[in-house]
C-alpha cells in the first residue's frame, strides 16, 4: 500500500514538473503572438498576459507594409533554398566518390572535409570577411551563398557518406552491365536511392541557413540583402515604441520554421540531433 502511495506521489511530482517546464518553454512565445495582436495600451496596462480582446491585425499590416519585412523574408528564403541546393549537389557528388569509387586518397579527402564540423564559425570570421571583400563579393547574395554552402559541406558529406556505405555494390554493377556511363548511373540509379538521406539534410540546412546570424552580420550590411535574423535586429530602434508591430514581425519570421517543425516534427528532431551521432 505504502509503496503505491509513494509511487503516486512521485508520479504527480513528475507530471507537475513536466507541465511547468512546458509552460516556461511555450509561454514566452504565446505571449509574443498575443502582443502582436494588441496595442501598446493593452500590452503595458490593461491586458499584459492574456488573450487579446480585439485582434489588432493592423500590426501585421504595419510590419509587412511599412518596414522591410517582405524583403528580409524573400532574402531568407532565397538564401536558404540556394544553400540547400548547392550544398546537396556538391556533397552528394563528393561523398559518392569517397564512399563508392576506388582511388588512393579517398579517406584522407573525407576526413579533411569533415574537419569542417569541428570549426566554430567565430574562429574564421575575420579571414572570411577579408576573403569576401577581396573577391569583391561584399554586399552581394554570393557573400552568403558561398560561405553557407562551404560550411554545410562537412555535415552533409558525413550524412551521405554514412548512407552510401549501406547500399550494395550490385547497383553500379547493373548500370555497368547495361553500358551506362558512370554519370548516368549516378543520376538514374544512385540519386533516387539516396532520397531519405537528402530529406534529412534538406531540413537541417534549410533551418540553419534560415536562422543563421553571425556570418550574415559580418558579411552583409546593405538593407536590401538582409535576411530576417539580421533585419529584425534593427527593428529594435524603430519599433521600441510599437511593440505590437515588433511582435508581428517576429511572428512572421518564425512561422516558416515552426510550421516545418509542426509538419515534420520527428524528422526535424532527427535532422538536428543527427550531428550528435556523426560528431561523436
Amino acid at each position: 500500500m505504502r509503496v503505491i502511495r509513494k509511487k503516486k506521489k512521485q508520479h504527480i511530482f513528475l507530471q507537475f514538473f513536466l507541465w511547468v517546464y512546458a509552460f516556461i518553454s511555450l509561454y514566452p512565445l504565446i505571449w509574443m503572438v498575443f502582443y502582436s495582436l494588441k496595442n501598446n495600451d493593452e500590452i503595458f496596462v490593461t491586458n499584459p498576459y492574456g488573450f487579446p480582446v480585439h485582434f489588432r491585425i493592423e500590426n501585421y499590416i504595419t510590419a509587412w507594409s511599412r518596414y522591410n519585412v517582405p524583403v528580409y523574408f524573400f532574402n531568407s528564403l532565397l538564401v536558404a533554398v540556394v544553400t540547400v541546393i548547392g550544398t546537396i549537389t556538391l556533397a552528394v557528388m563528393f561523398s559518392y566518390a569517397v564512399a563508392r569509387m576506388r582511388w588512393k586518397l579517398k579517406d584522407t579527402a573525407r576526413i579533411y572535409v569533415m574537419i569542417g564540423m569541428f570549426i566554430p564559425v567565430q574562429v574564421i570570421m575575420i579571414p572570411l570577411a577579408i576573403l569576401v571583400r577581396d573577391f569583391g563579393l561584399t554586399n552581394t547574395y554570393f557573400a552568403l551563398f558561398i560561405p553557407y554552402i562551404a560550411f554545410n559541406l562537412a555535415f552533409s558529406t558525413a550524412i551521405f557518406y554514412g548512407f552510401f556505405r549501406t547500399i550494395p555494390f550490385e547497383l553500379e554493377e547493373s548500370g555497368c552491365i547495361d553500358g551506362a556511363s558512370i554519370y548516368k548511373t549516378f543520376f538514374s540509379i544512385i540519386l533516387p536511392i539516396v532520397k531519405p538521406a537528402i530529406a534529412t539534410v534538406v531540413i537541417f540546412i534549410f533551418l540553419s541557413s534560415w536562422n543563421e546570424f553571425t556570418m550574415a552580420l559580418i558579411l552583409i550590411s546593405k538593407e536590401s540583402l538582409k535576411t530576417l535574423p539580421l533585419g529584425l535586429l534593427f527593428f529594435q530602434g524603430e519599433f521600441t515604441t510599437d511593440w505590437g508591430a515588433m511582435g508581428a514581425a517576429m511572428t512572421i519570421a518564425s512561422v516558416p520554421t515552426i510550421l516545418i517543425y509542426m509538419l515534420f516534427s520527428e524528422q526535424v528532431e532527427n535532422a538536428l540531433t543527427v550531428g550528435a551521432s556523426v560528431k561523436g
Binding site: L18, Y21, A91, R100, M101, I126, I182, M246, T273
Partner: protein, 293 residues
C-alpha cells in the same frame, strides 16, 4: 566494374568542387587566423610581423580575463540548465504513465527552431525594466522585485545565459531522449525483476548508458558557452560597460569596430585553444570507449 569505379575524370568531377570550396572558404581561413595573429594589421595597409606581441598584449589585457570568465560562467549556466533540466525531463517523460507525451516533446523543442534574433528580442521584452513580463509577474505576485535585469553588472551575463539555455534546452532533451530510447527494453525488465525501483533503475542503468550522449551534450554546452556571441551582441552589446564581453565579442570588436585585425585573430586563436582544452578534458572525463549493446 573495376575500370568503372576507377574512372579518374569522374572522380575529379565529383570531388574537386567540394575540395576547392572547402579549402578556400573554410580551411584556408583557419590557417589565416593563426598566421595573422602574429601581425599588426588594420585589414587594409601592409601588415607588420610582430611575432607574439599580440598574445603578450592579450595576456596583459584585463578584458581578456573578464571575457574568459564570462565565457566560463555562460558555459556553466548552460550545463546546469540545459543538461540538468534536460536529463530530468527525459527521465520523467519516458515514464510510461505520462499522458500527452507528444505535446510535451513538441513544446520543449519549439524554441530550438526559432531564429536567435527572435529569441533574444523576445526576451528583451520579457526583461524590459518597465513593461517586461518578468517585472509585471513579480508585481502581480506583490513582490517588490522589480529591476532592470540586463543593466546589472553582475546579473546581466546570467540573464543572457538563461535565454540561450531556454532556447536550446530542447536540443539536449532530444539528444538524451534518443539515447534513452536506444537502450534495449530487456535492461529495464531485468532491473524490475531484480526488484529495483524506478529511481534506482535510472541511476544504475539509464544514466551510465548515456555516457556517449552526455559527452556530446557537454562538449556542445561548454564550447557553446565559450563561443557565445550572438546573444550578447543582440541583448546588451557587451554591456553594461564590458560586463557581458566574451572572447568572440572581443574578437568582433577588435576586428570590426576598431580595425585591429591581428589582435582580433589572436583572440580567435585563444578561443580555439580554449575549446580544444575543454573538449580534451571532457573526453578524458567521459572516457573514449563507447557502449555497444
Amino acid at each position: 566494374m573495376e575500370k568503372y569505379l576507377r574512372d579518374r575524370t569522374a572522380i575529379a568531377v565529383f570531388i574537386l568542387p567540394t575540395l576547392l570550396l572547402f579549402t578556400i572558404v573554410v580551411f584556408n581561413p583557419i590557417l589565416q587566423t593563426f598566421y595573422r595573429s602574429m601581425f599588426e594589421w588594420d585589414g587594409l595597409s601592409e601588415a607588420q610581423f610582430i611575432f607574439f606581441d599580440n598574445f603578450t598584449r592579450l595576456f596583459q589585457d584585463r578584458l581578456f580575463y573578464d571575457s574568459m570568465y564570462n565565457g566560463l560562467l555562460f558555459a556553466a549556466v548552460l550545463v546546469v540548465l540545459q543538461i540538468g533540466i534536460g536529463t530530468f525531463l527525459v527521465l520523467a517523460v519516458t515514464d510510461s504513465a505520462i499522458k500527452y507525451r507528444k505535446f510535451l516533446r513538441i513544446s520543449y523543442f519549439i524554441p530550438v527552431v526559432l531564429s536567435i534574433t527572435v529569441a533574444c528580442q523576445l526576451w528583451l521584452s520579457v526583461y524590459n525594466g518597465e513593461y517586461g513580463l518578468l517585472n509585471k509577474f513579480f508585481e502581480t505576485l506583490g513582490i517588490s522585485y522589480r529591476q532592470d535585469w540586463l543593466n546589472s553588472e553582475k546579473g546581466a551575463i546570467f540573464a543572457i545565459a538563461v535565454v540561450n539555455a531556454w532556447q536550446y534546452m530542447g536540443y539536449h532533451f532530444a539528444i538524451l531522449l534518443a539515447a534513452v530510447k536506444s537502450i534495449p527494453e530487456q535492461y529495464f525488465e531485468a532491473a524490475r525483476i531484480d526488484g529495483a525501483g524506478k529511481v534506482r533503475a535510472h541511476l544504475s542503468i539509464t544514466l551510465p548508458l548515456l555516457v556517449e550522449a552526455y559527452r556530446f551534450c557537454f562538449v556542445l554546452a561548454i564550447t557553446g558557452g565559450l563561443n557565445a556571441f550572438a546573444n550578447m551582441f543582440i541583448m546588451t552589446g557587451g554591456g553594461p560597460g564590458t560586463a557581458t564581453y566574451t572572447l568572440t565579442y572581443m574578437m568582433y570588436r577588435s576586428a570590426f569596430r576598431v580595425n585591429e585585425f591581428g589582435y582580433g585573430c589572436a583572440s580567435a586563436t585563444m578561443l580555439v585553444v580554449q575549446c580544444l582544452i575543454a573538449t580534451i578534458i571532457i573526453n578524458k572525463l567521459f572516457g573514449r570507449e563507447s557502449v555497444t549493446y
